[in-house]
Symmetry: C2
Subunit: 339 residues, 2 copies
Amino acid sequence: MPTDVNTLGEFGLIEHLTRNFPISQPSTVKGVGDDAAVIDNNGLCTVVSTDMLVEGIHFDLAYTPLKHLGYKSVVVNLSDIYAMNATPCQITVSLALSNRFSVEALDELYEGIHAACLHYGVDLVGGDTTSSPKGLVISITAIGQAEKNQLVYRNGARVGDLICITGDLGAAYLGLQLLEREKRIWLENPEVQPNLENQQIAVGRQLKPEARRDVIETFRRVGLKPTSMIDISDGLASEIFHLCKQSNTGALIEESGVPINPEIQLLALQFKLDPITCALSGGEDYELLFTIAPEDIEKVRFLPEIYIAGEMTHPSDGIKLSTTGGNLHPLTAQGWKHF
Amino acid sequence: MPTDVNTLGEFGLIEHLTRNFPISQPSTVKGVGDDAAVIDNNGLCTVVSTDMLVEGIHFDLAYTPLKHLGYKSVVVNLSDIYAMNATPCQITVSLALSNRFSVEALDELYEGIHAACLHYGVDLVGGDTTSSPKGLVISITAIGQAEKNQLVYRNGARVGDLICITGDLGAAYLGLQLLEREKRIWLENPEVQPNLENQQIAVGRQLKPEARRDVIETFRRVGLKPTSMIDISDGLASEIFHLCKQSNTGALIEESGVPINPEIQLLALQFKLDPITCALSGGEDYELLFTIAPEDIEKVRFLPEIYIAGEMTHPSDGIKLSTTGGNLHPLTAQGWKHF
């Protein structure tokens, strides 16, 4: 009987499909399994990451302006390159689109792509444009450069390393809840105008996230090299699992150390959601999660927007959340299960 | 009123969308407009090409085994890297797939990808796997390496250069006609078994094409560097237009110099098609079209499977076909229009 792909999960499926693909090229430094692949050129290393965004799965054009979609599609890929401590320099953009998209619609999408290229200083160098029987598919590949010894992987954390986060979490997820709520209201009553006033933070983070180029530049300035790093695209809980699995450590996250914007806390409560759950499992924040050696703490202590949220522990200790109430809960990759 | 994307054509659309994207990165050697982009790493150059294949547009699973599809998806990308006179070393594979695909179906697809990786010596280093509301989309990016001075672009041909083709043309197109015919018969009468006997050449070229790695290796061995090169994915006529446009030349193609397999000639006639039209406009042959300086003729004259098919002329002479009957016809990017 055929096996449903959902039984394996996204990461399980990728592991399953790529298990028989050994690395044979001497230039391949890192293959499948990190934020990006790394290729040695006897000079600077090339860092490559790719993402596919599918209409109806990753974005809903009912509330996503095409310009924002173009911008975000680029940003999510650049974020993966920064998560390697590398500098993105080029992107390729491939599109499959149905005939309901006009040249003007594509112009809007490319305006957003262009704005992201300008903002992050990357060149559009290629791609493919083709028709699709239905909907829009965007596949972007980002290419970056770094010195080999500057690269930061997921597998370098050690027991005792401090866990750091570059900004507040949960906002993008709540932005999505808001947009979905207004869409439902609008579908029920097309006369009602969406009410997104005073929700710029959440909606902005969902529709127009930024990648943390500034953080990578700060690392250079203060001479800091994290021991491991990943970008937070699926939520803090899922990402810390990746770091722990690849570094062979456990982790202790302090609830009080997980940064959440006060407005986002209020918004979560309006939606009857636990703010820490949104921060742990929300995803799409595109902040960086990284670990540093304990002796490097002075380099980050006074940096704005770098929060120390816990430390890496022995693998036998598992991955746990220490709540503000003083309890210790095991984390799951899906976040924190309330008991 | 919104403008239909089809009014611009594929190449026109790409030109339109990317017109405002100047190159700003010092590492970008070549951006949009060749078989692949080129990135300088202060060492070997990185060569990047990407293609998106959409079910119902580029392939029909009614007659395309998933294993062949996986193989071909890789090969068409590698062909672009060889067309830069570079060596492909890595690929990334992104998939969007609906829930009608099982793990076993994906295993078949990846068997083909794996076979191509093994055959061409490239590593699978990344990708993305996601769901799609409908159908299968495959986006592959191929990454190669080359010394900067070894790269061959589309724009280097000069008036008087000889036009060369690496193998016979038209077979893949006739393979597609055969498969489509058998599909129609099968749809009308599911009892009838497809009759593809003695059609291995055409069907094989359509379902399992190969990229001309051997030709690039031969170039190295005999010390030949073409002046311009492109792979034949859309048909000889379309590709010679690209070379002429970017090199600012005209071209004279000799009908007698365009290699067509005798079996494919017969097959074309069975389909009431002109064999030379199939060769000029068929596409998907993945042979290489290149030009050489006249003084290099001795280096290719005795090589098997390299055919001299004409020469580059003054741009004012246009792009013409000299028929075996002694007539001169202007070529169009769609091939040769009979009058």
